[in-house]
């Protein structure tokens, strides 16, 4: 089992009032699954994904990632988990504008302390795989949204993660670009990568093996 959420609650206090963002979330994810999280706007999808990705905390319940209790994790250890197991894909890409495509791809490898030659090989491999070799020396601002998201996915994949977390990866893209991205996800999933995506689109959700529906922070 890759991860397990038991009775997760998350709330914020606003003006003395408790507002629940997540209520009693329970589910397990096995390796190799492709899960879609759906729900209306404001239902807590992004919040849930951030909790799973350990970008954000929770208030109550238990969360185990690869048999380790996330609650007890130290900051440093968490950074290790990102490095080794998790890749993120964001709706707004979050590429670094000052770095070229190539350098953006290389960054996660720097933090894994790989040798220069190894890094080069891996970056070249990714550029090739996503068909963006010609763009390697461009800056993100010089790319279209679809191309940027390709780079974002490539960056998420470069460190060979077990799990990819994607928050509306096609949200800013046109439909043909979106289909291309979803195709890539499907391929990856078939290679054994676990994927959890947040999406508004039924069509995109169909690429997945399972759908979790949220309403007001609760699974339905």
């Amino acid at each position: 089992m890759l991860l397990q959420l038991n009775n997760i609650f998350k709330w914020v206090k606003t003006g003395g009032q408790q507002t629940f963002l997540l209520k009693d979330i329970n589910f397990n994810v096995e390796e190799g699954e492709f899960i879609s999280i759906m729900g209306p706007s404001g239902s807590g999808k992004t919040t849930l994904l951030n909790v799973i990705g350990m970008l954000d905390g929770f208030n109550e319940g238990e969360y185990n990632f690869m048999d380790e209790s996330v609650h007890d994790l130290k900051e440093k250890h968490r950074a290790d988990l990102y490095k080794r197991y998790i890749g993120f894909v964001f709706q707004s890409y979050h590429l670094l504008d000052e770095l070229t495509v190539q350098e953006n791809l290389e960054m996660p490898l720097l933090y894994k302390k790989l040798k220069g030659s190894e890094r080069k090989a891996m970056v070249a491999d990714m550029l090739d795989r996503f068909n963006i070799v010609g763009k390697k020396d461009l800056f993100p601002t010089q790319l279209s949204g679809g191309q940027q998201q390709l780079v974002g996915i490539a960056r998420a994949l470069i460190s060979n993660p077990k799990l990819i977390l994607a928050d509306e990866p096609t949200g800013n893209l046109n439909s043909s670009q979106g289909e291309e991205i979803m195709g890539i996800f499907k391929e990856l999933n078939e290679e054994g990568v676990t994927i959890i995506q947040v999406t508004h689109s039924e069509k995109n959700a169909e690429y997945g093996t399972r759908t979790i529906n949220l309403l007001d922070g609760r699974m339905v």
Partner: protein, 800 residues
């Protein structure tokens, strides 16, 4: 319109308090310091300028063919008087004085004071203001005395003291009542009553000079008087050249005539230029420091303004899109910078009285209060606010207003690599200057420590000196020797010595010696000292050959000489000098060398050790000091014992002692001040550098906040994040260090050229300077970024 600009500027600053505070703090430090320096420079430039007819007042200085023949600020007595008598169309007035220190007694108050015995023209020539008394008659009667307001209050507790009397002691120990006929308003610093940092508060005319057996202004062999002339309007010092030459030729002895030129120096220039321009150099140094500090503050301002502007890109874009003209944007920015500078200036003026106190300690001199400046000086703060505001604001204003609207709307400052380069250059400049100042401060300290730690040829530990009362007669000396022996019986005192000189740079007379077997052409100018037979033991100066003076009998023709004199006179060894005869120019009787002693640093380490000749105080009959060598132990207790013995033996003399470190400190007043000044400048520079770094790093973090989040998601640790920023600044620092090392080395080498005895510059000052500046800056960066990367990742990413 203007009001509108100011209003908007004010609002926009209030929205960004951190930005405003950092800038105000930096500017405040810079401006406050510059105000103080400005006030000091102004004050120093005004020394002697408030004298009556200041432009016509001249001091007669002496230029000797050999510097050792006499100091330059004193001269012969007669020429000034003859000038006025013979050339009344050139010289309107003259004043000469002889300075003595003696005990002034008023009931139980008994203090040693500086007393000035001079011509009665004092008040008339210089226009000193009398609070009480009639300027035209104050010196009519013998034993009249004019004192300053300060002394009146010190002795009487009030200013209305005309008609009161105080007693003054002469050098034979006799007391004489003097009647106070005038009270002077406290004098601004001037070169008439202040000379060489000592100032006089008691003024006596020469009609009382006989009592002191001094002020023999008619003597042609005594070049020891301060002498001033007031020239007639439109007369230049050049007009005096020939008359002065003629006067010397007509009256002076051959030795004087051939070696002395009297040079009139305008008093307004004299103060700034004396001691080879020491004051002037100090003013230039301070001015440079002031410029440097204010420069740093302005650079910071520019840096931070440009940096923080990315916050305001959108505002700029919208203004532009809405039709704002470039000119209006420039004005808007200038208004902001002027407001910031004005606040800083206002605070700086407010802080003047407090910081002034600190500054006085650094400078070692009182600094005039704000109220003492002329009224129109009120315009200066406004002027500063406006000028600095414009200078500091103009660059950011143009950079920002020249942006393309589309860039600004995107909220992104597309900083060109050139701009980044300029910005780093400026920060690098700050680093460099801070490093230079700190390294210099360390090396100045090292040189000063060297002054106090260097082997001076004598042992200054446990040495205490105290001024004796004066009775320069045979009986007087005998009595002092008896008293000296009494002191030596105290268990607290291991040695006691009576002498005219102590090693504080002031020696009594010069001798021009040559060997009896050589011609007078080979004469060696030597410092003459008057000491007793205990001097060597007290100071622990080694005796290299021969013997010291005999006890009991005056040794009129016997002299001790130092090693340097042995060399200068051309003896092969100390032993070879013993028993040899020396002749003093203008003196029949030869002197016999009875002993050779080790070299001691009698003067400061600026100058090389000179040939010295020691004569027996018992024969010379001049003495000024007791020196005591205490035994190790409780100093305070020992001094108390000496004091009570002193009061028992010499009930009329005040007991005031100095440890030798204090005596030495007077030799190095300027250096000690320079050290304080350089440390103050370092602290200031340091603050400004840190503020600059702080401002830039905050900006950098703000700009890269999203990047921090992304990097963390991709596996960066907190350390990785900090390193990112540290690296950015480290490059700049390395460059700064590369420039700072040779620059500070050069400056200090230049400074050290003032000293004959000096430190080797070495490596450690650089090491510590760099370590402190770079270390602290890096630490600041590290802490700041650590805090920034402590955020929850999600908060970073949300910031769009």
């Amino acid at each position: 319109m203007l009001k509108n600009y100011l209003k908007i500027a004010w609002r926009s600053l209030r929205k960004r308090p951190l930005y405003a505070c950092i800038n105000i703090l930096g500017l405040f430090a810079g401006i406050a310091f510059v105000l103080l320096i400005g006030a000091y420079v102004w004050q120093e430039y005004h020394v002697n300028r408030s004298l009556k007819n200041a432009d016509n007042q001249y001091i007669l200085t002496s230029k000797w063919t050999d510097q050792n023949m006499g100091p330059d600020f004193v001269s012969l007595g007669p020429p000034a008087a003859i000038l006025k008598e013979t050339y009344p169309h050139l010289v309107a007035n003259y004043y000469r004085w002889d300075g003595i220190r003696s005990v002034v007694v008023k009931e139980n108050t008994k203090l040693r004071e500086g007393i000035q015995i001079g011509d009665p023209s004092l008040l008339d020539q210089f226009g000193f203001e009398l609070l009480q008394g009639d300027a035209s008659t104050v010196f009519n009667e013998p034993f009249s005395l004019v004192i300053t307001e300060e002394k009146a209050i010190k002795y009487f507790g009030k200013v209305q003291v005309v008609g009161e009397t105080v007693a003054i002691e002469n050098f034979s120990g006799a007391l004489q009542d003097f009647k106070i006929t005038g009270v002077l308003a406290d004098l601004n610093e001037n070169s008439i009553s202040y000379i060489n940092d000592a100032y006089n508060g008691f003024f006596i005319a020469k009609n009382s000079s006989q009592f002191f057996d001094r002020a023999d202004f008619d003597n042609w062999e005594l070049p020891i008087f301060l002498s001033y002339v007031e020239l007639q309007p439109s007369v230049t010092p050049k007009d005096l050249e020939q008359p002065l030459r003629n006067i010397l030729n007509d009256h002076a002895s051959e030795g004087t005539r051939n070696n002395l030129t009297i040079v009139p120096v305008k008093l307004t220039d004299y103060y700034l230029n004396k001691n080879s321009g020491l004051v002037k150099r100090m003013l230039y140094t301070l001015g440079f420091i002031g410029l440097f500090i204010i420069g740093m503050a302005i650079i910071n301002f520019i840096n931070i303004a440009v940096s923080f502007s990315s916050d305001r890109m959108r505002e700029i874009g919208i203004r532009k899109v809405l039709g704002g003209k470039k000119k209006q944007l420039v004005f808007q920015f200038l208004a902001e910078s002027i407001i910031l500078v004005s606040i800083a200036t206002f605070l700086a003026v407010g802080a003047y009285p407090f910081l002034g106190g600190l500054f006085e300690q650094v400078i070692g001199k009182e600094i005039i209060p704000l109220s003492a400046f002329p009224g129109y000086f009120i315009a200066i703060p406004f002027f500063i606010a406006l000028t600095i505001g414009l200078v500091a604001g103009v660059y950011p204003a143009f950079i920002l207003s020249a942006l393309q609207p589309i860039q600004s709307l995107k909220g992104k400052l597309q900083i060109s690599s050139k701009t980044i380069f300029v910005r780093k250059l400026l920060v690098g400049f700050q680093f460099t200057l801070a490093l230079v100042v700190l390294i210099a401060a360390f090396l100045i300290t090292k040189q000063i420590d060297f002054f106090f730690e260097k082997d001076l040829g004598y042992q200054k530990e446990y040495l205490v000196s105290a001024a004796t009362p004066r009775d320069w007669t045979e009986d007087g000396v005998k009595k002092m020797i008896t008293i000296r022996n009494e002191f030596e019986t105290l268990p607290e005192v291991s040695n006691a010595s009576l002498s005219y000189e102590i090693p504080n740079g002031n020696n009594g007379f010069q001798l021009q010696l040559y060997r009896s077997d050589a011609s007078s052409e080979s004469k060696v100018v030597s410092q003459g000292m008057m000491i007793d037979e205990n001097y060597l033991d007290t100071y622990q100066i080694p005796l290299l050959a021969g013997a010291v003076f005999e006890k009991g009998v005056p040794n009129a023709d016997a002299v001790l000489i130092n090693e340097q004199a042995v060399k200068s006179l051309g003896f092969e060894s100390p032993e070879m000098a013993i028993g040899k005869q020396l002749k003093n120019v203008n003196q029949e009787e030869p002197l016999t060398v009875v002993g050779v002693i080790g070299n001691i640093h009698f003067e400061s380490l600026h100058t090389p050790i000179k040939p010295q000749v020691y004569v027996d105080v018992k024969a010379a009959l001049y003495y000024r000091y007791f020196t005591f060598k205490l035994r190790p132990g409780n100093m305070q207790g020992q001094l108390a014992m000496i004091k009570s013995k002193w009061q028992e033996l010499m009930p009329n003399a005040p007991f005031k002692f100095d440890f030798f470190d204090e005596t030495l400190a007077t030799l190095y007043t300027n250096e000690l001040q320079l050290r304080k000044a350089s440390y103050s400048a370092s602290v200031l520079a340091f603050i400004i550098v840190l503020l600059g770094v702080f401002g830039l790093v905050s900006l950098s973090i703000q700009k890269r906040i999203k990047e921090i989040g992304v990097r963390k998601v991709l596996g960066a640790s907190k350390r990785n994040i900090s390193q990112l920023f540290v690296k950015e600044f480290a490059v700049v620092m390395v460059f700064a260090i590369v420039f700072a090392i040779p620059l500070s080395y050069y400056i200090i080498t230049l400074w050290l050229q003032n000293y004959v005895y000096k430190i080797t510059i070495g490596f450690s000052a650089f090491f510590w300077g760099i370590l402190i500046v770079a270390g602290t800056s890096l630490m600041l960066i590290f802490i700041q970024t650590l805090k920034a990367s402590n955020n929850k990742v999600i908060d970073n990413l949300k910031t769009e």
